[in-house]
Symmetry: C2
Amino acid sequence: MTDRVVPEPERRRRRPTKRGIVLTAELIVDTALRLIGQHGADALTVRRLGAALGADPSAVYRYFHSTDDLLLAVADELIGRAQHAWQPTGDWRADLRAIGLRIHAAYQAHPQAALLAAHRTTGRTHEAAAVEAILGVLRTAGFPDLEAVRVYHAFVDQSLGFAALDAAALALPAPAAAADRQVWQASYARLDAATHPHIAATADLLTTDMRRSGYPYALDLLLDAAEARLRAVGGKREG
Amino acid sequence: MTDRVVPEPERRRRRPTKRGIVLTAELIVDTALRLIGQHGADALTVRRLGAALGADPSAVYRYFHSTDDLLLAVADELIGRAQHAWQPTGDWRADLRAIGLRIHAAYQAHPQAALLAAHRTTGRTHEAAAVEAILGVLRTAGFPDLEAVRVYHAFVDQSLGFAALDAAALALPAPAAAADRQVWQASYARLDAATHPHIAATADLLTTDMRRSGYPYALDLLLDAAEARLRAVGGKREG
DNA sequence: TTCTCTACGTCAACGTCGTTGACATAGCCT
DNA sequence: AGGCTATGTCAACGACGTTGACGTAGAGAA
């Protein structure tokens, strides 16, 4: 039996597990998210998920074809949350900044899923709505179509790229994550000033700055440059 | 025995394996890169690596503490290749642009490895050399230390983020990659102008632009903004 | 109410993985 | 020439994703 999944709308029998839990796809997705949030990204295994659900691990395969299938379902949930209740304010720069930070934050909240989802183009409704919103902000602000498309492309890929990058740091197995964080203090802060003068001169600043995500600053740089280009073609900040 | 690794510079005895291969850390890294490139990221397991090397899988643990340690070495090798034979020209903007494009290109050449490696901080020699080079370019150009560190951070993470994003597109299984590329023509180009006016108005530009990497344009935006900030503190373009 | 059908939870097993303790041998150094 | 030990090998552990087989209990039909 290579496929034991019954499509959700056709489900009829809701049989409780030995421990009295009634399973649903939604409950499994929520439990998976909780597992990641509480015990780290590497806590998401089928066996642990089964234990957390109060069910046999293999019961998960009645709802999802594979762990990858499950993770995509989780990711789908994230895309919706990032956009939930967003409204344009009329200030294009503030709007883009808000959208970027929302995308980033939504993925940060669930790094493991973000890693699988960030680099796919789905073409589904949530994604289309986001594309339309961003393009709308840019064109309404006065960007010519060609420039609007290019800024859109850079903006979106920058957001997703940073989202994946920062999510990966959170999704690493605990020892690897700790090692990555230690590198700046343990290695770079101790390099010889003779061989690495620039690192030595900025070691303190580096160890501080590298602890945070570089995204907010990079986003501001991108918006700076976009604003300059908009001004060059005669557009205004508000509009 | 929790650590069976002998540091590379202290190695003396070069004992061949049963199949006559003389192992080195370098050979193992190269073989890992080849394995990933030929059979995908999932092909990188200690057992398969042993088979490809002509050695017992556990021999790898005489050279690397863990698979994660090996992966960091692979990542550092990619960084090293990106920096190979690079020389500063004195034009900070041209230098940063060249470094960024080199990093991007090096990772594109090994997409599967890039997916595993782009998100890690290795702290090894090649990475340290790259950090030193980039910081040197910025500080020599006249960026104050704090600003230099922030621009460095944004620059590196943006480069790695785009590298991973674009590598992911190349590393996808063929049908999934084709599907992702088709989305722009098959879905977005056909959206109703009533519900998605901005997408409809720019559909042609979108389908053209989304076929390329957004990195070069995003890089130029970042450099634009950095240049503006440098000018604001009194620096010059050449220097 | 009873009967039937089958959805779905459970169990056990397979082959894989990373990793490590124990062992043996062969290369380097004195 | 001889000893030390680096390094390759072997076997085993526990955890992983996944799947075939089984039985029971829930829903719908009568």
